[in-house]
C-alpha cells in the first residue's frame, strides 16, 4: 500500500489541523468515508522505536511537548498585569498529540455535566452554562471511541457513571498496591471505589500487544503500542485508506478565506520555513484548546478583522484549567508504585456539585504514583525534608518505593476574563506572536481543591499512611487539560461553534477539540474530546455527501 500524497495546490476535501486526540479520529473517520484528507501536524512523526525510558528527556525536558524556547508562552494572572514568559500550558507536539504522552485516564463525563446550569443556576463571577447536547446524544460516540481507541475498564463498577450501551472492550488492568489500600479504605468509609478506565490495553487488541507494566506512561511514549494513542489506534487506519496524508512538521500560521466568507485552505510553515498553502473544501481545526484559538485569532482579514469565527468575540475566552491537588502518604512496606500504569483505582463519590458545601464544584480522586526517580527526589518529598545531606538521601531512598499519592481532579469554572490572546511583544521561532495566557482560578475552584484535599487526607489516613503531606489548597500548576476558548452552543452571540464543532460564522470551518468544552466537568477530557470528534465527523460526512459544505 502506498500512502496518499497530495499536492498542496490540489484542493482536497478536508484539511485537518492537528493530529492529536481529536485530529486522529477526524482523519480516520473522514478518510474512511471516502474523502481526501490532509492532516497538518506541527510536530514530528515519531513511533515506538524512538521512545525510551529516559526521565531527563521526557519527564523533565519537553521531549514530547511544546518547547517554550521555540514557542514561548507568556502568562499573567489578570489583564492589568504584565505577562511574563512561563510554560503555563503544555501539550503534546507530535503525530498523536497529547494522546501519545498522557497518563491515559479515560473518564466519560456524567449526565449532570451537560446541564449543570439547569441544576445549579448561575455561579457569581463565572459563566456556567448548559452544553448544547445531552449525555444521551453523545453516548453512542463514547462507546465508539472506547472500542476504536481501545479502553480497559469495568462497566457498572462506578455507581455514579451514566448509563452506557456497551461494556468496555477490555477488562481492567491489574490492581497495584495503591489500588488495594485505596479500595479497602474507601469501602470502609462507605465510598465506592472502582477500577480506573484507561487507554491502555490489558489484553492484546486489534493487532496491538498488551501492556507489560513498565510504568513509563505519564510524559512518555509507549514502546509497546499498548497505550491507546491515536498514533497507534486510528491514524494507521486513516493512512491505510490511501486517502489520508499525515503531513508532520507542518505548522499552520493562518486559515485562508475567500470573498464569500468561506475557508479555502491553510497556510503552514514546512520544515525549513517555507510557507505553503494547502487548498481544501473544508477546514477542521483540532489543534487543542490553546492552539486552535491562537490560529483563529491569527487568521484575520478585512472580512474577519477580529479573527476567524469570532463574531461573538468569544474566541480565546473561558479558558478552563487542569485543576486538582496531590496528597502523598508514606507506607510501611514497599508498594513499588513505579511499576505499571499510574492509576488503578478511583472514586467519583464527590464528583457532583453539592450546594450544601457552599460553593460550586466537585471532583474525582485517584490513587496513583507518577514520579520517576529524579523528579521524586527533587519534588516528591515532604516539605520538612532537608534539601541535601545524608537525611535528604535517606529520605528519597526510603520513600521512593513506599510512597502512594492521591490526586484530585477538580472542576474549573468558565470565567470570561481567563483567556488565550496573542502577545504583542513576544514572537515564536517562526515569527508568529506568542500565546498569552491570562488565568486566575475562580474562588470556588480553590474552595473545591481545599475541600477535596481534606477528603484525600482522610483517605490516606484510613489507608494506613504513616506520614501525609500535600499541595497547598491554592496551588495551580501547569495546565495539561486545555479546555474552553471556542465554546459550543446554540446561540451564535454566546458561542463560537455548534454542537458539531461547526463555526456559526463560516459554514465550511469546524473547530473540534477541547476548546469546545462548555464546562470542565471534573478534568480527564480525552474521552469527551474523542466522543465529540466522532460525533462531529459523523455529521460532517453527512453534510459533505449532501453537498452542504
Amino acid at each position: 500500500m502506498t500512502k496518499a500524497r497530495f499536492r498542496p495546490s490540489e484542493e482536497v476535501d478536508f484539511v485537518v489541523i492537528g493530529a492529536g486526540a481529536s485530529g486522529g479520529v477526524m482523519a480516520k473517520e473522514l478518510a474512511s468515508a471516502g474523502f481526501r484528507v490532509v492532516v497538518l501536524e506541527q510536530g514530528p512523526y515519531l513511533d515506538e522505536s524512538s521512545f525510551t525510558h529516559d526521565e531527563l528527556k521526557y519527564a523533565i525536558q519537553p521531549g514530547l511537548t511544546n518547547d517554550p524556547n521555540l514557542q514561548p508562552i507568556t502568562y499573567r494572572k489578570a489583564e492589568r498585569e504584565p505577562a511574563v514568559r512561563k510554560k503555563a500550558v503544555e501539550y503534546g507536539r507530535q503525530v498523536g498529540g497529547g494522546s501519545v504522552h498522557f497518563t491515559a485516564n479515560y473518564w466519560r463525563f456524567h449526565e449532570s455535566d451537560f446541564h449543570e446550569h439547569d441544576l445549579l443556576g448561575d455561579v457569581a463571577g463565572a459563566s456556567l452554562a448548559n452544553w448544547p447536547i445531552s449525555y444521551r446524544e453523545l453516548e453512542p460516540f463514547y462507546t465508539k471511541a472506547e472500542y476504536e481507541i481501545g479502553i480497559s475498564g469495568l462497566a457498572g463498577a462506578n455507581p455514579f457513571e451514566a448509563p452506557r450501551s456497551k461494556p468496555y472492550p477490555l477488562p481492567p488492568m491489574p490492581v497495584k498496591s495503591s489500588g488495594v489500600l485505596f479500595e479497602r479504605a474507601t469501602r470502609k468509609m462507605g465510598l465506592h471505589p472502582f477500577p480506573a478506565p484507561v487507554a491502555v490495553l490489558s489484553q492484546p487488541y486489534r493487532g496491538r500487544a498488551a501492556c507489560v507494566h513498565c510504568g513509563f506512561c505519564e510524559s512518555f511514549g509507549c514502546e509497546m503500542q499498548a497505550k491507546s494513542s491515536t498514533l497507534v489506534s486510528v491514524i494507521p487506519i486513516a493512512e491505510k485508506t490511501g486517502r489520508c496524508e499525515i503531513r508532520p512538521n507542518s505548522y499552520v500560521r493562518r486559515i485562508e478565506t475567500n470573498a464569500r466568507g468561506k475557508v479555502t485552505g491553510a497556510v503552514y510553515f514546512e520544515q525549513g520555513g517555507n510557507q505553503v498553502l494547502q487548498r481544501a473544501k473544508a477546514v477542521v481545526v483540532c489543534a487543542n484548546g490553546v492552539e486552535s484559538a491562537k490560529l483563529l485569532l491569527l487568521s484575520t482579514s478585512n472580512q474577519f478583522p477580529d479573527g476567524l469565527a469570532n463574531s461573538s468575540g468569544l474566541v480565546g475566552k473561558y479558558l478552563m484549567w487542569d485543576l486538582g491537588l496531590l496528597a502523598e502518604g508514606l507506607f510501611e512496606h514497599q508498594a513499588n508504585e513505579y511499576k505499571s500504569i499510574q492509576v488503578t483505582r478511583l472514586i467519583h463519590d464527590y464528583y457532583a456539585s453539592d450546594p450544601k458545601r457552599g460553593f460550586y464544584g466537585g471532583g474525582g480522586i485517584d490513587a496513583r504514583f507518577d514520579f520517576y526517580p529524579a523528579g521524586f527526589a527533587l519534588n516528591g518529598l515532604p516539605p520538612d525534608t532537608p534539601k541535601w545531606g545524608l537525611e535528604f538521601k535517606k529520605t528519597f531512598g526510603h520513600y521512593y518505593t513506599r510512597t502512594i499519592s492521591l490526586l484530585s481532579h477538580t472542576s474549573s469554572l468558565a470565567v470570561e476574563s481567563n483567556t488565550v490572546t496573542l502577545d504583542a511583544n513576544v514572537k515564536d521561532a517562526w515569527g508568529l506572536p506568542a500565546v498569552c495566557i491570562t488565568y486566575t482560578p475562580h474562588p470556588d475552584d480553590i474552595a473545591t481543591q481545599g475541600w477535596m484535599m481534606r477528603r484525600q487526607r482522610e483517605i490516606l489516613e484510613a489507608m494506613g499512611a504513616k506520614k501525609i503531606w500535600g499541595d497547598p489548597d491554592d496551588a495551580v500548576g501547569t495546565s495539561r487539560h486545555l479546555m474552553g476558548t471556542c465554546r459550543m452552543g446554540k446561540d451564535p452571540a454566546k458561542s463560537v461553534v455548534d454542537s458539531f464543532g461547526r463555526s456559526h460564522d463560516v459554514p465550511n470551518l469546524f473547530i473540534v477539540d477541547g476548546s469546545n468544552f462548555v464546562t470542565s466537568a471534573r478534568q480527564q477530557p480525552t474521552a469527551t474530546i474523542q466522543a465529540l470528534a466522532y460525533r462531529a465527523a459523523d455529521h460532517m460526512v453527512k453534510l459533505a455527501k449532501a453537498g452542504d459544505l
Binding site: 525510558h53 529516559d54 526521565e55 531527563l56 528527556k57 523533565i60 525536558q61 519537553p62 521531549g63 524556547n69 510554560k87 503544555e90 491489574p174 490492581v175 497495584k176 498496591s177 495503591s178 489500588g179 488495594v180 489500600l181 479500595e183 479497602r184 507489560v212 507494566h213 513498565c214 487542569d322 486538582g324 491537588l325 496531590l326 507506607f331 512496606h333 514497599q334 508498594a335 513499588n336 508504585e337 513505579y338 511499576k339 505499571s340 507518577d370 526517580p373 529524579a374 523528579g375 527533587l378 519534588n379 516528591g380 534539601k387 541535601w388 545531606g389 535528604f392 538521601k393 535517606k394 518505593t401 490526586l407 481532579h409 499541595d471 496551588a475 500548576g477 501547569t478 495539561r480 478534568q523
Partner: protein, 188 residues
C-alpha cells in the same frame, strides 16, 4: 496537574533534541574510556572546578550509607550537561562557584580551597549558601547525576537506582508490591 514539576520544567527548558544526543554521545565515550582503562577527560569543566564540584556533590548526596554522588560520577553528569543541553547554565556555575569561594575565604581564612576543609566545614559552607540561587541549580544537577539514566554520564552502574531500589526492567508482572501481593488483601 503537576505543580511540583513546574520548577524543573522552567529550569530545564534549554533542551533541543541534538543536545540530548550530544550528551549521550559524550557519556558513551566516557564509559568506553573507563572500560579501556583511560582516565576520563572533562568536556567543559577545568580540573579545579571539577574538584570543587565533586566535593560539594559529595555533601549533597554523601556516601556514608552506600554509594553517593561520588561513586555515581555525578560530576561527569554536570560536565556533560554544561557541555551540551544545559550550556545556558555555565554562567550560573561560574558566578555561583565564585560566590562560594568568597564565602569560604571569609568563613575559613586559613584555607586556600575546598580541599583544605573538613567535611564539617564543607557542610557549614553549604548551609551558608543554601539560599543562593546557584545552590538549587547545583542540587538539581547532582540529583540528576545520581538518578537520571546512566547514558548521561552519572548514575554509574545504576548506583542511584540501586540505592532507591528502583529495579530497571523493561516490564514487570503482578504482584508489583507488598500490598497487592499474596496474603495482603489484594483486591478481588
Amino acid at each position: 496537574m503537576l505543580t511540583r514539576r513546574e520548577w524543573i520544567l522552567g529550569s530545564f527548558s534549554a533542551l533541543v533534541a541534538s543536545g540530548v544526543l550530544d550528551a549521550q554521545q559524550h557519556a558513551f565515550e566516557a564509559v568506553r574510556a573507563i572500560a579501556e582503562g583511560h582516565s576520563v577527560a572533562f568536556a567543559y569543566l577545568d580540573a579545579a572546578a571539577a574538584r570543587t564540584l565533586s566535593a560539594l556533590a559529595a555533601e549533597i548526596i554523601p556516601s556514608d550509607d552506600g554509594p553517593g554522588a561520588t561513586e555515581a560520577g555525578a560530576v561527569y553528569f554536570i560536565d556533560r550537561a554544561l557541555a551540551t543541553f544545559d550550556g545556558d547554565k555555565r554562567e550560573s556555575y561560574r558566578q555561583g562557584l565564585s560566590r562560594m569561594e568568597v564565602a569560604r575565604a571569609k568563613l575559613f581564612p586559613a584555607s586556600a580551597g575546598i580541599d583544605d576543609l573538613t567535611r564539617e566545614q564543607r557542610q557549614e559552607l553549604i548551609r551558608g549558601l543554601e539560599k543562593d540561587e546557584f545552590f538549587e541549580v547545583l542540587r538539581t544537577h547532582v540529583v540528576l547525576g545520581f538518578l537520571a539514566n546512566p547514558e548521561y554520564g552519572g548514575n554509574r552502574d545504576q548506583a542511584g537506582w540501586k540505592y532507591i531500589e528502583f529495579d530497571d526492567q523493561m516490564g514487570y508482572q503482578p504482584p508489583f508490591g507488598y500490598y497487592d501481593g499474596p496474603g495482603n488483601g489484594e483486591a478481588k
